[in-house]
Symmetry: C3
Subunit: 167 residues, 3 copies
């Protein structure tokens, strides 16, 4: 989103709220269901997906934990997870909080939402794995919503297995 | 839901969304408030309530942790909790994520929602007790919503006190 | 809310639901972003903000952990946090569950919502800090929403650092 673009402070319609809420629910659902190939379909071709830490954001440091600046890179990441690298097996469970509707620029909405992510090991231990906030850029056209940008700001980066599945 | 029934892929109206969201909020609220007798009233007479583990679902195994296949059984379960068995006393706190609106068959909606359940002991220690997902079958008639089926898929079954209060 | 006032059991309109949901999202967001001065602006002048424990509520005991019975007191509390007292530094992350719309008295809505609050230390450890429920009194006029009362009922009070940031 460029700062120069005109901002519309109109509140989102019920239809737009519903479309965006459904997209966010689907995002979390598909990761948790390990249906990452379908999760990819929620993103636009020109998407940007990034995982950063709060510390780096607040200190304006450039480091990122994951960064895919288009859809093909994001697909490669999923392929890598599926076929190339070995990670610790686990089950994810996201719970996302209420949506914060921010600026609208054209058909692009800026949305924030907190999340808690629990992971369960194959041995059956559930624990809090990551807490943080999503910054979503979501394009809504004809009430179809799609992710243009996702920035995950994790409250901590001190998680050895962070790079396995997306957050 | 029988697979043969015609599916309607129309999106839910704002009224139906609100009715379903309110029902789910009430479900969690009444368990957490230990008002289980009122919680029972959210269910249809022909309801089915089941708690299973993710492992069993993914491996298509038949084991269940709790299964009540009609309202009277569900009431018996609450009665048993209240009057018969002794469980560890605790306080529940559910936080449910955004609703995922699935298929509609007639007036029956298929909804999924992730949950995190924290428990607090009488000594005052709060911890994550269960993470998982709800699969709800919710009947909405005249904007009144009722549970026809609830399947709780817990990410792990390794919880000694799981069978006390409903999830 | 006085018991004698006439209660309206009408369900909230989509506009009122949206206004209230946005206010609650903003509440959590601004605390987590450490923008407490802006958080203050969500409250009415005649507001009442209170943190109590579930044990005290259930036993009808008068003890409170934090109580500010007007806006100036609440501002003092934030000032104290900012400039006077030293607390352990940490990052908050709230996830709030679905809203439970209760009684409406005039333009005042009674809302409940469960929360989980994770904290992350500067060393990078995230953990569940508090679980509980909000009881909000929210005034909605011309679709602008404002907190008139907030009662945070924490499931446990056994948290040494509870009094630093608001919950």
């Amino acid at each position: 989103m460029t700062e120069a673009a005109p901002k519309n402070t109109a509140r989102p319609s019920a239809e737009i709220r519903a479309a965006i809420s459904d997209l966010v629910a689907e995002y979390a659902y598909l990761i948790d269901a390990n249906r990452l190939e379908e999760w990819l379909n929620l993103f636009a071709q020109d998407c940007d997906y990034k995982v950063v830490t709060r510390e780096n954001v607040e200190q304006n440091l450039p480091n990122v934990m994951i960064w895919c600046d288009n859809w093909e890179m994001l697909r490669d990441r999923v392929d890598s997870y599926r076929y190339v690298n070995e990670y610790n097996l686990h089950w994810d469970r996201h719970v996302v909080g209420p949506l914060r509707f921010g600026d609208q620029v054209g058909d692009l909405w800026h949305i924030e939402a907190s999340y808690l992510l629990a992971q369960t090991t194959l041995e059956g231990a559930s624990s809090l794995f990551s807490a943080g906030i999503y910054e979503f850029g979501i394009r809504v056209t004809d009430n179809r919503a799609q992710f243009v940008s996702v920035r995950v700001i994790a409250d901590t980066g001190l998680v050895p297995t962070l790079l396995a599945t997306p957050i």
